[in-house]
Structures are given as structure tokens and as C-alpha cells.
């Protein structure tokens, strides 16, 4: 009997959908199977409280690859990103630091903290742009296996080597530093203002169970500089209707090419026959056959849950088991009756940008220490946006939704009892810390959704609650993501592929893994 489908994608996250869209576009009869009732994985919008749309997990967009936007015509399918171009950091002494979209206002603001830093800041940005430009080709490259590169791999390595060589000696030195240093040490070389260092360090620790003083965090910083919006590097924005809108746009593109997408269709197992994938078994017992199966789930789910260890080489199983997930963050989403008032915010327009609870380097390092010894930071770092200030579809008129990314929060919270008690304690710590900077907040909360790393694992399927499908540390990047020898989207099982953020180029709403995986699959299918 002939199979009904050419390819099955396990998981309707944004990368699974991207992979499906590319396969369907190439004429493959493609089926996406999503466990939940809603598409998007961690890039999902849900109306948790009537009238209020929550960007449940992932909340901002920047790293989405421009080639995916172009090739899948995502704008036509509903991609609609409004820029977030200011940042506001309230300080413990009542002062603040603000970054504006225009350089002159930003310079004036930094000058209040350090005249020297005001002049250094544009140079630091320039260095980071230069580095982002230098490593940008890597994002679109299928990682070769350096131990067995083959002709194609050698060509890739040669091209990358030439490209890096062209960047010049200074760039090479800067790049080496970024690849090895801690973000704190890196910023010490540039800035004297503590609050500016704290703000600049944030992208180095986000989503990673490392403090700003841990080596390797400088690279995480660079990873977040590789985004671009409308040709502008490092620009961040909010999708209209929440990040679920990005997933919906990709899903719409996939459907337009003929892909079929099923929700509430959890996959239990990969069906393997003579070392090759031949289909999947659903939890309800149904079996669906196809000559290609792709997993958009993270490496632990892809290889340790969907597949029996006996179907995999022992060394590979060991590598996957060693792959570090270590969720480091939680999420609190609020429905608000009115806007929070930050007394330190003198310019009301800043409420439409990013709000960072990161008043000092010590605050960040303490938050890390605190979480390392007991579960979560009692005074955490928070990355906040209030998308309803720009997009009126997020909340009823005059009301608001507040998305609070909270770090650090470990997967294990041994001091706090049951998961429900952990959630309660974690949510309370977030609100009470935030009220230190916006005292009226507690009076305007209509509804609160709290997600610990455990909750992220249970609801979204992110192992240990890691938002990137595994940490973005150097030992887990490029040709090591998720395991040496299997960074090219293939797996030890023939016709079984991986396309999630646990593969290159990693986490965030990039759609990069989904695209590159699809291109490799199509290569093999030729």
C-alpha cells in the first residue's frame, strides 16, 4: 500500500511548521502532528483570561531569518511586526536608564550616568554589529562534521574560514573574546556605568543558567545581536496578536502549499523498521506511515522519548543525555485593568518599549546565586513588554497585558514543596519585586498566569523548561548541536530528521533550523 504522506512532522512549533512549509512547497505531501489544541509550540498566543491575549512563552521577535520571511511570503500570511525600540531600566535609588530609538536622546540619557560611556556606547554597538555581520553566514550554513567533513563539509569550512579571514585581525580578536569571555568581563572593558553594564549584559544571560560572570555568556550576547528587522541589525519587535501570530503565519504558508496540519494529535513513538523510520504511532493508537519523519521537538524528546534507546548507538544516547537543558527562566503573564506606573519613568512613551528589571550587575549576579541554591531568584531579573500599548487587539480598550520573562528559575525548586506551591511562591516573588519599581501594579492585576520551568515542560514540552531546546553554550553550538556527527539535521536512524531549536542555529523564533532541515531532507530525497 502506498503511503498517504511523503513526510510527517512531529510537533507544530514554529520550526516544525517552517520545515513543513518548505517540504510542501517542494511538492511533498506533508502532515504536521501537534500534541496541543493550538499551534506554535513556545511561539503561541492564548486567550488565558477572557478578552486578554497572552504571549504565553516567547514574546518578542528579532531573529526570524529574512530568507524565511521572503521565501514563504510570510507578510502575505499575516506576519506583522511592530518595532520595540526603547528600553527602560528603573534603578533601586529611584533613578533610571533609558535607551531611545534615536541616538541623540540615548546619548543624553547615558551621559547622566557616565560622560565617557555616552561616547563609548556607539562604538560598542558598532563592534557588536561587526561581529554579528561576521558570523551571520554561519546562521544559514548546515554544520559540517569537522571529524568527517566530506567534500561538501570541506567546502563549507573553507568558505567560512575565508569569510572570517576577510574580517581582519581586529575582528578576529574581538570574535575570539566573544566566544570565550563572560559578558561581565567583556563589558568591563567598555563601560564604567554599572547600570549600563547591567542592561547590556542581559542578552548574554537570557535563557541560560549562567550568571553574567560565567565564561561563555559573551557568545549568548552575540547570538541576540544577530537578529534583524527590515534590514536593521539587532532590532526587536512584537508580532501583532502575539508571537502565536508568527506561527499562524507560517502555518498559513504551509497550508497554502498543501501541507495538512492536525492539532490534538500527540505522537507516542517513532515506528522504526530495519534501522529506518517508516512512520509514527499516535497516543490514541493510530499509526501513520511516511518515508520521512521529522521531529521538531527538543533533542531529549526526539531521541529519548519518541525512540527506544535500542534503536540508537550507545555513544549517541550518552551524548543526548549529557546535552544540557537546565531551564533558567519562567514566565508570568498578567491581565491588567490599567497601566502600571513606574515613578522613575519620566517619559511616558517608554511604556511601549522594553522594561528591564536589571538595576545593577550585582542584582543579576545575586539573582543567579540565589537560584543556584534553592530554585529561583527571590529578586529576579525581568524582561517585560506590554504589547497592548501598541497592539489594541491584545486586550479590551484601556486594559493591558503584561508579559514578564523571569530569570532565574531552575527546574528543581526543592525548597518550595509541590509544583503548585512552587508556582505560587515564584509568582509572589515576581510581583513583589516588580512592585518595588511599580507600586500600583498589585492593585491593577485582573489575572495572573505563572509558568515555572516545570510548567513549561509539562504544557509546552520543553525539557527542563529550557526555552532554547538546550543551552546556547559553545559546547552545544553549530557542529555540536545536538551531538557531534549529527548536527546536519540527520539522526542515527535513517529517514528520521530533526528540525527544532536543539539544532543549528539554535533557539529563539529564527525558523532557521526548520528551513535548513527541510533543505537537507530535500537533498536526500533527490
Amino acid at each position: 500500500m502506498k503511503d498517504q504522506y511523503d513526510a510527517i512532522i512531529v510537533g507544530g512549533g514554529h520550526n516544525g511548521l517552517t520545515c513543513a512549509a518548505y517540504l510542501a512547497r517542494a511538492g511533498k505531501r506533508t502532515l504536521v502532528l501537534e500534541r496541543r489544541h493550538v499551534l506554535g509550540g513556545a511561539a503561541v498566543t492564548e486567550e488565558i483570561f477572557p478578552g486578554f491575549k497572552f504571549t504565553v512563552c516567547s514574546y518578542v521577535v528579532s531573529l526570524l531569518r529574512p530568507e524565511v520571511i521572503r521565501e514563504l511570503e510570510l507578510a502575505r500570511h499575516g506576519l506583522h511586526i511592530t518595532p520595540l525600540d526603547s528600553a527602560f531600566v528603573p534603578m533601586e535609588n529611584g533613578d533610571r536608564l533609558a535607551i531611545y530609538s534615536d541616538a541623540a536622546s540615548t546619548r543624553e540619557e547615558i551621559r547622566r550616568h557616565s560622560k565617557r560611556d555616552a561616547e563609548v556606547a556607539p562604538k560598542f554597538s558598532q563592534m557588536m554589529y561587526e561581529m554579528a555581520f561576521a558570523v551571520k553566514p554561519i546562521l544559514g550554513t548546515v554544520p559540517p562534521d569537522p571529524s568527517r567533513p566530506g567534500l561538501r563539509g570541506l567546502r563549507t569550512l573553507r568558505d567560512l574560514g575565508r569569510h572570517l579571514q576577510r574580517q581582519g585581525q581586529r575582528s578576529f580578536h574581538d570574535l575570539s573574546k566573544l566566544m570565550t569571555m563572560s559578558v561581565s568581563d567583556l563589558l568591563d572593558e567598555w563601560y564604567e556605568s554599572d547600570v549600563l553594564r547591567a542592561l547590556s549584559a542581559l542578552n548574554g544571560i537570557i535563557g541560560t543558567m549562567l550568571g553574567p560572570k560565567s565564561p561563555g555568556t559573551a557568545y549568548v550576547l552575540l547570538h541576540h545581536y544577530m537578529g534583524e528587522l527590515d534590514g536593521a541589525f539587532t532590532a526587536w519587535g512584537c508580532q501583532k496578536g502575539g508571537t502565536g501570530g508568527v506561527s499562524e503565519a507560517i502555518a498559513s504558508a504551509a497550508r497554502s502549499y498543501g501541507a495538512e496540519i492536525r492539532v490534538e494529535a500527540p505522537v507516542a513513538k517513532l515506528i522504526v523498521s530495519r534501522g529506518a523510520a517508516v512512520g509514527v504511532a499516535l497516543e490514541n493508537g493510530d499509526e501513520i506511515r511516511a518515508p520521512i519523519v521529522v521531529s521538531g521537538a527538543d533533542p531529549r524528546v526526539t531521541f529519548r522519548k519518541l525512540v527506544d534507546a535500542s534503536d540508537l548507538p550507545a555513544a549517541f544516547v550518552e551524548a543526548i543525555d549529557r546535552f544540557k537543558f537546565r531551564g533558567s527562566s519562567g514566565k508570568v503573564n498578567l491581565a491588567l485593568d490599567a497601566l502600571p506606573i513606574f515613578p522613575a519613568m519620566k517619559d511616558p512613551a517608554l511604556i511601549r518599549g522594553m522594561i528591564e528589571i536589571a538595576p545593577s550587575m550585582d542584582w543579576l549576579e545575586h539573582a543567579y546565586d540565589d537560584a543556584s541554591h534553592g530554585g529561583f531568584s527571590r529578586r529576579p531579573y525581568m524582561d517585560i513588554v506590554i504589547p497592548s500599548t501598541v497592539d489594541p487587539t491584545m486586550a479590551p480598550p484601556g486594559k493591558h497585558v503584561m508579559s514578564i520573562f523571569v530569570q532565574y528559575a531552575g527546574y528543581d525548586m526543592p525548597d518550595y514543596g509541590t509544583p503548585a506551591q512552587q508556582r505560587e511562591a515564584f509568582g509572589d516573588a515576581v510581583i513583589s519585586t516588580l512592585c518595588q519599581f511599580a507600586p500600583n501594579l498589585k492593585d491593577v492585576i485582573l489575572h495572573k498566569q505563572v509558568l515555572t520551568p516545570f510548567d513549561l515542560e509539562q504544557t509546552i514540552g520543553l525539557s527542563e523548561g529550557n526555552i532554547f531546546h538546550g543551552e546556547l553554550t559553545l559546547d552545544q553550538l553549530f557542529c555540536f548541536r545536538p551531538a557531534p556527527g549529527y548536527a546536519d539535521y540527520r539522526t542515527p536512524i535513517r529517514n528520521y530528521y530533526q528540525c527544532g531549536s536543539g539544532t543549528h542555529p539554535g533557539g529563539g523564533i529564527t525558523a532557521g533550523p526548520g528551513r535548513l532541515a527541510a533543505l537537507e531532507i530535500l537533498r536526500d530525497a533527490k
Binding site: P66, R70, A75, S101, D230, G231, A349, V390, P397
Partner: protein
């Protein structure tokens, strides 16, 4: 020296950028913040208000009002029911375009015409012998344009009338916060939107009420820089940019006809005699010398041009209004038209331009080459020919 509009006390208070343009002798804000992008986004995501008071406005009434307008305008005004608005052009006797605007049938036998350039004498001269009165209300009417997906919601908060029944290109009289106004479902953005005409004495209060009511749905004032990006996305032409009024140039080469500009749909050739009718009829038979199309530039090719300089792709932050040549070939041997305005479209994630090309290159799906200057060197970047408008959301007419 440019004069203030009736809203100036309010617009100047909000205009942090202090960037103003002279528009028909009035001060008009380019952008309220230093950057225009939030104003652009407001129109596509929430809503924005533009001060469009500098538009020229004429009221024509009396027994011969329709006959007069029918003699001047290319549309069949006699067929326009009360409460309807129509986009129209008007031409000289050679069929060359003078201007475009909207004509609204506001009450039986009473019309309001908007224009970009002064038109009183043209109406008067062509109205000789017709029993109709022409009044220049350009300064007797202040005007605001409220545009964007939440524009109806914000106006409805203030309006006596039910605006959900006000259809695209219809108009009604009502009160906003007790202030008498005319509201037409029209605009220059290609989005859901309305234009509000009001006595200047009420202007400041109307502005205040609107901004107050708009807070809950993120309304903000917006200026010309955002406006220009929006109208290009909507495929709407701008006088002195995409065409030159035949009344303002001595040179034939600078004149154009509605057919050449893709505005043939505004010409009711079959109605009784109107200015330019014969010339337009001949042109229709012959076919226009140019056609107006949309172009979508190939970003991959443009990126390659920048890569040649070791630079990342650069996209324009705002629209451009200086015509550039269109070629048939990458070597720039045969010029086949000109792009008259263009912009990066954040909503479409495309680099778009409005262009006038030779008819044999005007077929949608075809390919032409647009001149792009990078680091003061000229290149020809491939572009796909598409139909206008680029952006046309269902909510515009819904």
C-alpha cells in the same frame, strides 16, 4: 511664511521633532516623534490622526451643480447618490491630468469637492452659463483623517450616529462629542479610515476629544513621512511626485493622462460632454503611451550589490520621491520607464515602488530593472511587475 492650520495649537504641542513641511501654504507636521515608524505602525496596527486641513475644499450647489461638476470632472457626478463619495480626476481639454480628489454628494444638489491644488477659477470658468454656486470652503472647513483598524472604534466612542453602517466611500453628517461634523469613509492610506470635516471654531476641541477617546485604542497623531509610505503601499498617487498637474507645467513631456496613470476607472467616457472627453476617447482607442504599475524589488539581488562593497543589505528608512530610470535589461541599455516613488514596506516586508512603464513591460509577473545607487555607483536591480495596490486589507471596505 506658512500659516498655522486650525489644529496648530494642538499639533505643535505634540510635534517633538519640530519637523514641518509647507503644504499649500500651511504648516504640516512631517512626524511628531523624531522617528516616523511608530506613526506608520499605528495606522496598520491601531490608528492615527492626520491634520489634512490644507486640502482645498469647494462646495458646489444650486440646480446646475451636478451639471457643472459633470462638465469638469471625469466621473459621472449625476449618478452619484446623496451620501456617496467618489474618487475622481479632472483634465484639461487635451485630456491631460490636472488634479485628483474626492467628490461627495453631501445633500440633494450640494457637493463637496476636495483638491490638491487651487481649483476655484477652473470650476468658475467651466461653469459659465450653468446655474450653480461655487464656494471656496478651503479655510471654512478644517479636516482630520483618522486611519487604521481601530479608527471606527475611536470615532464610534464619540459619534451620535452608528458608524458601523457607514460604508466605504459613503458619507454622513453627525456629531462627535457634540461637535457637528461630516464624516466620509475615505482616506489616503488604503486602510480602514475616515475623513472628518469640521468648522474651524470646533477644531481644537475636536482634536482634544479625539485624542482623549483614542487613548484606549492607541491612537496617535501622524505626519507626512508615515503618510507617504502608507499611500505608496495603497498604490495611491501623489501630485508633483507621481504626476505633474498639466496646469502647472509648460512642457508636454511632463504631462500625463489618467489612462497612463492607471486612473482610467475614473473616466465616464459615455456621459455628456466634459473637458478633455474627445482627447481621452481618442487615447482610449489608441491605448496609452505608458502604464502605471507596482514594482517589487528583488532583495536577494540588492543584497548582492551591497555585498560587493562588503556591506549588509541596506533598506531605505522612509519613502523616496525622486524618479529613477527603469530598464529592460541589467546592462541599462534600454530605458523603458521610470519609478516615481518607492519605499520599504514594513507590513509587506517588501521593497516597493510605483512606476510608469512602456505598455509592453506592464504585464503583471514581468521583470524590469530599477536603477539603484549604492555608494554613488549605479546598478540595475531586477524587480517584478505587480498590480496596484500593494496592500489592500479586507477591513478597508468591510
Amino acid at each position: 511664511m506658512p500659516r498655522p492650520t486650525p489644529f496648530h495649537s494642538r499639533t505643535s504641542r505634540s510635534c517633538e521633532s519640530q519637523s514641518w513641511l509647507e503644504w499649500s501654504g500651511f504648516l504640516s507636521a512631517n512626524s511628531y516623534e523624531l522617528e516616523h515608524i511608530h506613526e506608520y505602525d499605528a495606522v496598520r496596527t491601531a490608528c492615527a490622526v492626520f491634520d489634512i486641513s490644507p486640502l482645498y475644499k469647494y462646495h458646489v450647489h444650486g440646480p446646475g451643480s451636478a451639471a457643472l461638476l459633470d462638465r469638469v470632472l471625469t466621473r459621472d457626478v449625476g449618478k452619484l447618490p446623496v451620501g456617496r463619495v467618489s474618487y475622481t480626476t479632472w483634465c484639461d481639454d487635451q485630456g491631460k491630468l490636472i488634479d485628483d480628489g474626492t467628490v461627495a454628494h453631501v445633500a440633494p444638489g450640494r457637493y463637496r469637492l476636495t483638491a490638491a491644488i487651487p481649483t476655484l477659477d477652473w470650476l468658475q470658468d467651466n461653469g459659465l452659463g450653468i446655474d450653480a454656486a461655487i464656494e471656496d470652503h478651503s479655510e471654512a472647513l478644517a479636516a482630520l483623517s483618522v486611519q487604521g483598524p481601530t479608527s471606527r472604534a475611536v470615532l464610534q466612542r464619540l459619534a451620535d450616529a452608528d458608524l458601523s453602517g457607514l460604508r466605504y466611500f459613503h458619507e454622513l453628517e453627525t456629531k462627535l462629542a457634540g461637535i457637528p461634523v461630516s464624516i466620509s469613509r475615505t482616506g489616503y492610506t488604503g486602510d480602514l479610515g475616515f475623513e472628518v470635516f469640521v468648522d474651524p471654531g470646533w477644531a481644537e476641541r475636536l482634536w482634544d476629544e479625539l485624542l482623549e477617546a483614542g487613548q484606549a485604542v492607541n491612537l496617535r497623531p501622524a505626519g507626512n513621512v508615515a503618510q507617504d509610505m502608507l499611500r505608496i503601499e495603497a498604490g495611491l498617487l501623489l501630485i508633483d511626485v507621481d504626476f505633474v498637474s498639466s496646469s502647472r507645467t509648460l512642457f508636454e513631456v511632463q504631462k500625463s493622462t489618467p489612462y497612463e496613470l492607471g486612473l482610467g476607472f475614473t473616466i465616464a467616457l459615455g456621459k455628456e460632454c466634459f473637458v478633455g472627453q474627445e482627447a481621452l476617447r481618442r487615447e482610449k482607442e489608441r491605448g496609452p503611451a505608458w502604464v502605471t504599475v507596482g514594482l517589487v524589488l528583488d532583495l536577494v539581488a540588492l543584497e548582492r550589490v551591497y555585498a560587493g562593497f562588503g556591506m549588509p543589505l541596506h533598506l531605505p528608512e522612509r519613502s523616496w520621491n525622486e524618479a529613477v530610470p527603469i530598464y529592460a535589461d541589467a546592462e541599462r541599455r534600454e530605458q523603458v520607464g521610470r519609478a516615481t516613488s518607492g519605499t520599504w514596506s514594513p507590513i509587506l516586508k517588501s521593497y516597493i515602488a510605483i512606476a510608469r512603464v512602456s505598455p509592453r513591460f506592464g504585464r503583471p509577473g514581468g521583470r524590469v530593472f530599477v536603477e539603484e545607487t549604492v555608494e554613488a555607483q549605479r546598478f540595475a536591480v531586477p524587480a517584478q511587475v505587480v498590480e496596484l495596490p500593494f496592500f489592500d486589507p479586507p477591513r478597508k471596505k468591510a
